[in-house]
Symmetry: C2
Subunit: 144 residues, 2 copies
DNA sequence: GCAAAGATGCCATTCATTTGCAACTGGATG
DNA sequence: CATCCAGTTGCAAATGAATGGCATCTTTGC
């Protein structure tokens, strides 16, 4: 388990490469993603977007997230009991620890766990396409 | 990783113990759960219930699942891209491998992974309340 | 058996997300 | 730089899962 790097993708380049238009709403949204280090949901991204350009609609946020996801530029996480939350792709693969009290998301990584998952799948005759490992926990009060 | 035992809870006893009524719809629903070895969603349970008693409503299925869940008699799983699916509690803890082609759910268990999860959470200053580990995969064709 | 608390069925509602559609606009072309 | 039009957008209505309100029924304690 260790820290996770996070180089940001060049979204505009990716959009052009995907052959879709680089529109004003899309620029605003990817700009927000670039500046975000948290895991906002669609509504939160919408709010941040409206602060920059008040004509942007929530539909467009949803459509853009779906587009970026299909391009592999972002990851969607459906943590339990809430809307999907998004994060930029491009960093190393990692899993998530969700703070049940604050909703904060902490990233972690364990090669050992990944390896064990592969072994399990192989033993069952399966190939893992992707996986989801989420720890839901509370901060330990170390002394008081 | 190994097979998972599955002793079925005595739902009617549990209901009485919880101080709620053992009604006709509830009997039908827990009867279905007792006979199920899969991971049906609410609609599927509803269909099976209606086949036995056509007056049962989907609302009651949802209410009953929620009730059983709060009693700890069943577990709810929100696998990606679909409605919640349910399984009886009472077996050992286990995680899930979801067959992306069929939707089949295979249960597995790894003490080693659980242990690593605990270590990770501890290192981050957290106590795990619960976790979710899902592998999404496809069957390997071993020869043809 | 009876009454009252609890459950049910039905329907409307919520919440997250998607879709239909007319109006708009990137960006390739001339 | 004007034109054009497929790709996009905003809006509103639709969807799908799940919940809530409420009048009516039904367990269960007496």
């Amino acid at each position: 388990m260790n820290a996770v790097s996070n180089r940001k993708p060049d979204y505009e380049r990716l959009l052009r490469k995907a052959g879709v238009r680089v529109t004003r709403p899309r620029k605003v949204i990817v700009g927000i993603l670039t500046q975000s280090d948290d895991h906002p949901d669609a509504l939160e991204i919408f709010k941040r977007a409206v602060a920059i350009d008040k004509t942007i609609s929530l539909s467009t946020v949803y459509r853009t997230m779906k587009l970026l996801e299909s391009m592999g530029a972002i990851h969607r996480h459906a943590f339990e009991g809430g809307p999907s939350r998004f994060e930029q792709a491009g960093g190393d693969h990692h899993d998530h620890l969700i703070d049940l009290d604050t909703g904060d998301v902490i990233e972690f990584k364990s090669d050992r766990i990944e390896q064990l998952q592969d072994e399990i799948a192989r033993a069952l005759g399966y190939e893992i396409i992707h996986h989801r490992l989420e720890l839901y926990g509370r901060k330990k009060k170390s002394s008081g």
